[in-house]
């Protein structure tokens, strides 16, 4: 009896470990005869703060587009590969959407990509930056530049400040691994050395063991690559507690209020994609009373790209794709032109945390 109980317990634990929460995808009933656009974002779970921020950007785009023949269906895909596959299957097979905005996390976007390609439904991610997405298929687009660009920019930034021994603490998923790959290629080519690269599980709040290894490697700088607020707040705190004397750099995932609020973040330098034009920021603040969250502008642009295609008469996936491939517009995050593999180019801003605020650095 006890053995059985234990086994059941173990199965449950594995189940819990694999999926944090049950599928709580919400959908709005869509009327027939309309074009349906799906949105899949992490609205619950540890990436929900990104998902809800991007959702606001999308809602602004919906309001601005003033389309009467479009229904938008939101699904919660939890920044998780399995959940993203469930969500995209539901959106395509049950709701019959013709295009989708999503997912936030690279792992989830990569998991959903084959299904989008198979059904010829364009999938535009507002925030998945893994270099692997460039190759994810004809129907996969994004309004955020690839980490192949950010990693290059970041490596040059760190080296430009005069650091030569870089340690990397990265999130153990497509996003972190992809970004690390670029750093490992570029930083040594500049003349620096990557002295340690340690992985951290998404959502884990204990990086002490990894940081002890990093401390032993005696780096002069540490690059944190994460988009899990729980993990980055914990790791920045533990760097201070362990007394590691290295200066901190971070990927754009760190640009959140939680990180800035931490006293230990003082001096942290992050590279970030555009947080939106002044007009977008003003509109966002007027509607929500807050500055836009990370990737809200990219979320706005992802939806805007689809709405422009629909406005020009596209009603099916392949038609929308045709418009996407040739379109050029100025969105909330800047100029959007998709290249042959659905990527956009982009510039990065550099922010430094001073007195609990991200201060934009003038180049």
């Amino acid at each position: 009896m006890k053995k059985l109980l234990l086994m059941i317990g173990v199965i449950s634990v594995l189940f819990l470990f694999g999926c944090d929460t049950a599928n709580t995808g919400s959908s709005q009933a869509a009327e027939p005869g309309k074009v349906k656009i799906g949105v899949m974002l992490p609205l619950t779970g540890d990436a929900a703060s990104y998902g809800t921020g991007i959702q606001r950007g999308i809602e602004l785009a919906i309001a601005d587009a003033k389309l009467t023949n479009v229904d938008v269906i939101f699904e919660d895909s939890k920044c998780d590969g399995k959940e993203a596959v469930t969500a995209i299957n539901k959106l395509i097979s049950v709701d019959k959407v013709v295009a989708i905005v999503g997912e936030v996390c690279s792992s989830a976007t990569l998991a959903a990509a084959p299904i989008a390609n198979q059904h010829s439904v364009p999938l535009i991610s507002p925030s998945s930056t893994s270099p692997a997405i460039t190759e994810a298929g004809d129907y996969v687009y994004r309004t955020v530049p690839s980490d192949a660009l950010q990693g290059d920019f970041g490596a040059n930034l760190v080296y430009g400040y005069g650091y030569e021994k870089l340690a990397v603490l990265y999130s153990n998923e497509d996003y972190g691994i992809g970004f690390l790959g670029v750093l490992e290629e570029i930083f040594p080519s500049l003349g620096g050395e990557i002295v340690a690269a340690e992985a951290m599980e998404r959502g884990s709040a204990d990086a002490r063991a990894q940081l002890t290894k990093i401390k032993e490697a005696e780096p002069d700088s540490i690059y944190i690559i994460s988009n899990s607020p729980d993990s980055m707040v914990a790791s920045i705190r533990q760097i201070a507690e362990l007394g590691i004397e290295a200066d901190l750099f971070g990927s754009e995932g760190l640009k959140g209020p939680e990180v800035a609020a931490l006293d230990a973040s003082e001096g942290l330098i992050i590279t970030s994609v555009s947080s939106g034009t002044t007009e977008f920021q003003t509109e966002h603040e007027a509607r929500y009373g807050e500055v836009p969250g990370p990737f809200a502008a990219q979320g706005y642009d992802a939806f805007k790209a689809l709405s422009l295609a629909v406005k020009q008469g596209a009603t099916s996936g392949p038609q929308i794709k045709q418009f996407l491939d040739s379109m050029e517009f100025t969105g909330a995050s800047g100029k959007i032109v998709f290249d042959g593999s659905g990527d956009v180019s982009g510039n990065y801003d550099v922010y430094t945390v001073i007195d609990n605020e991200f201060i934009l650095e003038d180049e």
Partner: protein
């Protein structure tokens, strides 16, 4: 040498955190014989209660802690009386109770997100600063307090289970529920009390973990997974055993990844879980009743 000391201290800190979760979980398991996975939510809810009382309402810190512990204990009793007991009365199997507990875990996780949003909340009672040096390793005063308190709970719970009347009743029920009822022990009352004490322990855990790791809605799952693993290693129905098992888990995880890539940290703990289930399912210190053939 400093590295060895730091690795051991890292292991003790992680182990203490797992132990704080495992202690209450194991106490509730030993009298009720089902897995109360929503115990993870009790810990997180305690963290949010402290955040509300102390950071939002500015109630003095120690009073906030007291309120948190009592309310978390009451929450445990409420869950027992209104969720588990009605199910038990309908002769629900332990599997049903377990599914109910996972349901509660998810329910609370999402409720917390609706109420407090998904972002990380910092309680801010303890300032983040470099720790003091101990054998060349760095440790903060809060972490020392966490380790000492876990040790203290280990001794206190051992004493409680062995020498108090309630502890004896709990052990009697753990050992043989029918026999315990025959000699007049009210098992529902004892079960409720075990939920109160176990959940109050989750309250203490939530306060310390909240101060150490901040609070966010999804942390309960992570904590209960590690707490459960620690409990299995030590012996799930023997409370001091689960505490020791949690320490062992923390130490093995933290020392182990010095030798293997850090991405395998969780794989290491689950490998350990399976080794124990295969070769020593009663755990290191668990009671082997000798009925398994």
């Amino acid at each position: 040498m400093a590295v060895v000391a730091q690795l051991i201290i890292n292991g003790l800190i992680a182990g203490s955190i797992y132990a704080l979760v495992a202690a209450g979980f194991s106490l509730i398991f030993s009298t009720n014989k089902f897995m109360h996975f929503a115990h993870g939510s009790s810990v997180v809810i305690a963290g949010y209660l402290l955040f509300t009382f102390f950071s939002l309402w500015h109630i003095p810190f120690y009073l906030s802690c007291l309120l948190t512990v009592v309310l978390t204990g009451v929450l445990g009793v409420v869950l027992h009386r209104f969720v588990y007991l009605p199910l038990e009365k309908k002769n629900a199997s332990t599997v049903v109770l377990l599914i109910a507990s996972i349901g509660l875990l998810m329910l609370f996780q999402n409720l917390l997100q609706i109420i407090f949003s998904a972002s990380v909340k910092t309680i801010g009672y303890v300032q983040v600063a470099q720790g003091v040096s101990l054998f060349g390793a760095s440790i903060t005063p809060l972490q020392i307090a966490i380790i000492l308190l876990s040790f203290f709970l280990l001794i206190l719970l051992y004493w409680f289970m062995k020498y108090t009347a309630l502890g004896r009743n709990m052990r009697a029920i753990a050992d043989n529920k029918e026999l315990a009822e025959i000699i007049g022990i009210d098992h529902i009352k004892v079960a409720s009390l075990s939920f109160f004490i176990g959940s109050a322990l989750a309250g203490i855990a939530g306060i310390l973990i909240g101060l150490e790791q901040n609070v966010y809605p999804t942390m309960g799952t992570m904590l209960i997974v590690k707490g459960f693993t620690g409990a299995v290693i030590g012996g799930i129905d023997f409370v001091p055993g689960s505490i020791l098992g949690s320490y062992l888990l923390g130490l093995i995880e933290n020392i182990g990844i010095w030798f293997i890539p850090s991405g395998y940290k969780d794989a290491l703990s689950f490998a350990l879980l399976f080794i124990f289930l295969l070769f020593r399912p009663q755990g290191l210190f668990g009671i082997n009743k000798g009925v398994r053939k």
